[in-house]
Each structure stands twice: as structure tokens, then as C-alpha cells.
């Protein structure tokens, strides 16, 4: 990404935050500089880890890079989230499962610009907070994936039996 575009974006955000009537976000805005320094740390540690058995350890390291944030101007019940390096794969599925939640009044996702690897999700709720709805959505997707895996495996075995008999 050209550095100019980045600088411009930050300016916009800052002016947004300082607006007197803007509702307060529950989250400190993470600057992009912080993100990059975190990436560096992970790279160094990764080279140290020679043992391949410790899969989990490596996954945790990757987790260190924070890839979700609340966008400025959000309130507890009406928030926008920015996901880095995500697209329609997670966006549309997450939007669907969050819309399935009766406590949610509105949910939509967008990819603001095709050249930026960012995906935004907007959630507005009747009950509970937007963060809770997002968390529930992500949990439900995991349950869904489990059920599909389970069903796929049994279907595969049944089909193999049918073919051999």
C-alpha cells in the first residue's frame, strides 16, 4: 500500500475521534505502527522454534497480531468492526450467522476497497452488546463447522460401504 494513503486514513480517523459528539469507543485505536512491530517479534520467535511438534505454540504466536478492532464512533449496541486480511469467506458467513441471532437488529459486512485487505462488519443490537453478538457468531460458526465435518465423514463412510457391497 502506498504510504500516502495510509497517512491520509489515520488523519481521517483522528479527526473522527476528536469530534465532540462522537460516542466513545470502548477500545483504544490500535495504530498501524504497533501492528508492524508485533509482526517483527513474531518472526524472530518463529525462527527459534525448531520443534515441529509444538504446533499450538506457533498458533499462539500468530494470535499476537491483533487483526480485529472496533472502528471509532461505535457505541456498545451499535458498533463497526474492522477485520484485517479477511474477505468474503469469513465476512458473508459471519454476517449470516449474526443475522440468525434474534438479539441483533442489523448486521452487514462490506469490503470498503478491493485493493485493501480489510473487511468491515456492522452490528446493531436490541439486547446485549455488539461485541457479544460478534463473539456468539464466531462460536456458532465453529459449532456449524463441527457438524458439517461429522456429517461429511459419516456420509463418506456410508458411500464407501455402498460402493464395495
Amino acid at each position: 500500500m502506498p504510504p500516502r494513503a495510509k497517512a491520509k486514513k489515520e488523519e481521517v480517523e483522528e479527526s473522527d475521534v476528536s469530534m465532540s459528539d462522537a460516542p466513545v469507543s470502548g477500545q483504544k485505536a490500535v495504530s498501524t505502527d504497533d501492528d508492524e512491530s508485533m509482526k517483527d517479534d513474531a518472526a524472530v520467535e518463529d525462527q527459534g522454534g525448531d520443534e515441529f511438534d509444538e504446533d499450538e505454540e506457533e498458533e499462539e504466536e500468530e494470535d499476537d497480531i491483533q487483526r480485529v478492532r472496533i472502528l471509532p464512533g461505535s457505541t456498545p449496541t451499535a458498533a463497526s468492526f474492522e477485520f484485517l486480511d479477511e474477505g468474503h469467506t469469513l465476512g458473508n458467513a459471519l454476517r449470516w450467522i449474526i443475522m440468525k441471532n434474534p438479539d441483533v437488529e442489523f448486521c452487514a459486512y462490506a469490503i470498503p476497497h478491493p485493493a485493501e485487505a480489510k473487511m468491515n462488519i456492522r452490528i446493531q443490537t436490541f439486547e446485549g452488546t455488539a461485541v457479544e453478538a460478534l463473539e456468539k457468531g464466531l462460536r456458532d460458526l465453529q459449532d456449524l463447522a463441527d457438524v458439517v465435518t461429522e456429517k461429511f465423514k459419516t456420509a463418506k463412510e456410508e458411500f464407501a460401504d455402498r460402493m464395495t457391497s
Binding site: 525448531d50 491483533q66 449470516w96 440468525k100 441471532n101 463447522a145 461429511f152
Partner: protein
């Protein structure tokens, strides 16, 4: 308040007209229909989702995933194409290339060759290679890089018959094939990639280059783990697609010669001609007194390509309704050979879960 069976069927079918589609958006959300729930319910989902296999071969699988929304089905399809990791040649050190094919073209061709090998090694032992930052050295180690080499030289075949015109007999190595690529295991790779698990091209007879006597190719190749979103050569599938299950509803009977014509509007096996039975011809209704005549019956709508040919004929226009089932996805997964086609789908679903899990942690982390 429960909707009637007809209403549920109406909601579940995407209409296909001669020049338009209707009823395309799904409506299964809470609050859409007064008095109906539609909230996410894992138990309900488990009872309603079905998977049926139609074909399951190592390089091609076809199955139906029934009872999920398009957003979920599409997520799985996208994961298969762009997020399931495979191995491909990423770096070529060209030591000598006197053949007529240029270095960069040859390198590109090498990159596209699919390889197979020990699956535990590929999945568990091998890790993604991290590109060095500016100023850093490359760190090629046994768990992130697989080394291969291609060393071929074209020479005259002394044993060839005098009047031989076939270049493959006249010369040695006139054609360079994928099978000429050698695998050079390093360190712990011996454990994971030996014997049947050795790393070899999926198709040994891929033609890489052609040479004439005196020409030579020497290069060492570095293979890394990668994902399809980075480069299509890393995609585990040739194609992964789905289509919705077609529906054909004959509203009023199509009989006699019309039935034969109707059958020809569809691919083979979709419509069957049956004779009107004596019983049917005696009952009141459209078949009365038509015993022995042909009638068109839908037997296998899955084979239909939804060409809409029948809607072009005036005699059928009002007698038939075409559509597709909104929640019935017929997947077709063609593997490039590194993974079995059914493994790719499972891997895609597992990675999808992984993604959701990762973000669940991140959201908790963010809210703290």
C-alpha cells in the same frame, strides 16, 4: 405458528424463468416472518443438514450439501480454492540452461507442476516459509523448504537406427519430463518422505522442455508451502464449484407426441416416458380415457443443466415450472493430486473453524 408445507417449499425454491430468476434472497432470519423463530439452533441444524455422496474418487468428488445457506456453502468453496495449503516450486536457481526455453518461462512451468508425497510430512512437519525482511538472510531449513533438482543433458543416442526420425529415440533426453525432477531430502525429511512417501510429481509425463544434443538444463528447485490466495499454483483444486439442485415441476400433464418433444428439451435421463396406466385412465382427471399414451415424468432433475429449452416452446410454457433448490448445493471438487478430493473439503471446513476460533480469541482480546 408454523408455515404450511407449500409455503416452505415456495420459500425454498429459486424460480427460473425464460429470461429472469425470481425469489433469489433467503428469508430465514428472525424477525422476517411474524411469529416465526428462525434463530440459530445447533440441534435443528444438526437434524436438517445432510450430505450425500454421488462420486468419490481421489481426483474427483461430487456430493450434495443440503440444508445450509449460500454464504456458508460459498465460504467452504472459497476455502478449498484459496486457503487449503499445498506445496509448489517457488524458487529456481538456474545454474545452466542452454535449451531454447528461457529461464523465466522454464521457472514458471516448473512452478505449476503439482507434486505429491507423505501426507503427515506435508501436513504436520512442514511449515510455511517466511520470506526474509529486507537485509535479512534466507533461512532455508528442513521444515520449511523441500529441495529438488533438475539435471538433464541431451545427447546423441548411439544405439538409434540409422534412418531413425523419431527425436525421442534418436537422442537421449530430447524431451524433459516432470519425472526427471529429483528429490533431495534434507535432515528430518528422510523420516517423512521416503519410500512410498517420497516427493514425486503427480503426473510424471508432464512435458517441461524440449532439447537437442549439446543442450543442457541444470537447476536446483526450492519448494515451499503456500496457499491459493497467494498464487494459483498453490491451490489444491483444479476446480471446486457448486450448483443448486434443479427442480422441474410439471403442472399439467404432457402427453403423446408432446411428451417425446418435451423429453428432448432436457439432457438424457432427466425425463422418462411412461404409459398412462389403465387405473389412471379410469379415474376422473387429465388422464381419463388416455390409456396407453405416453406421459412425461421427471425422474432425475439432478442431471438437468437448466438450459430452459422447454420454456422456448409455447406448448410447454404454461405446463412446466423450472427452479432450483435454494439450500441444496451439489459440489464438484477436482483435486490436482496432492490431496484426495474429499480430504480437501474436510481440510477447508477445519480451516474455516480454525479461522472462526482465531477471531473469537481476538475479539475477546480486543474487548479486554
Amino acid at each position: 405458528m408454523k408455515p404450511s408445507k407449500e409455503e416452505l417449499e415456495r420459500r425454498n425454491i429459486v424460480g427460473v424463468g425464460a429470461e429472469r430468476v425470481t425469489n433469489v434472497t433467503s428469508t430465514d432470519y428472525p424477525g422476517h416472518f411474524p411469529g416465526e423463530d428462525h434463530a440459530w439452533d445447533l440441534g435443528y441444524f444438526r437434524d436438517n443438514v445432510t450430505i450425500e455422496f454421488h462420486k468419490n474418487e481421489p481426483l474427483e468428488a461430487e456430493f450434495s450439501l443440503i440444508g445450509v445457506d449460500a454464504s456458508i456453502a460459498n465460504a467452504f468453496r472459497r476455502m478449498m480454492i484459496a486457503d487449503v495449503p499445498t506445496f509448489a516450486i517457488e524458487t529456481v536457481h538456474m545454474e545452466k540452461n542452454t535449451s531454447v526455453i528461457q529461464d523465466e518461462v522454464l521457472s514458471h512451468r516448473l512452478g505449476l507442476i503439482p507434486f505429491k508425497g507423505g501426507k503427515t510430512g506435508f501436513r504436520k512437519f512442514m511449515k510455511f516459509y517466511k520470506k526474509p525482511e529486507d537485509g535479512e538472510e534466507h533461512s532455508y531449513v528442513d521444515f520449511n523448504t523441500i529441495q529438488l533438482s533438475l539435471n538433464v543433458e541431451c545427447t546423441h543416442n548411439k544405439k538409434a537406427a540409422k534412418n531413425e526420425t523419431d527425436v525421442t529415440k534418436l537422442y537421449n533426453h530430447a524431451h524433459v519430463y516432470a519425472s526427471d525432477i529429483e528429490f533431495n531430502p534434507v535432515g528430518r525429511q528422510e523420516q517423512y518422505f521416503s519410500g512410498d512417501n517420497a516427493i514425486v510429481p503427480v503426473h510424471p509425463d508432464i512435458l517441461i522442455a524440449k532439447m537437442r544434443p549439446g543442450q543442457q538444463i541444470n537447476c536446483s528447485l526450492l519448494m515451499h508451502k503456500g496457499v491459493g490466495s497467494d498464487h494459483a499454483k498453490f491451490s489444491p483444486v483444479a476446480t471446486a464449484s457448486y450448483r443448486l439442485m434443479p427442480t422441474i415441476k410439471i403442472k399439467s400433464p404432457i402427453l403423446g407426441e408432446d411428451a417425446k418433444k418435451f423429453q428432448k428439451c432436457f439432457p438424457k435421463g432427466v425425463i422418462e416416458l411412461q404409459t398412462v396406466t389403465r387405473k389412471e385412465s379410469k379415474e376422473e382427471g387429465p388422464f381419463k380415457g388416455k390409456e396407453g399414451e405416453w406421459k412425461a415424468v421427471v425422474v432425475d432433475p439432478m442431471r438437468d443443466t437448466v438450459s430452459r429449452e422447454c420454456l422456448r416452446h409455447d406448448e410447454f410454457k404454461d405446463k412446466v415450472e423450472l427452479g432450483r433448490k435454494r439450500d441444496h448445493f451439489i459440489y464438484s471438487v477436482e483435486s490436482t493430486g496432492q490431496w484426495r478430493s474429499d480430504e480437501i473439503f474436510l481440510e477447508a471446513v477445519a480451516l474455516f473453524k480454525e479461522k472462526a476460533k482465531k477471531f473469537e480469541h481476538q475479539v475477546i482480546n480486543m474487548a479486554r
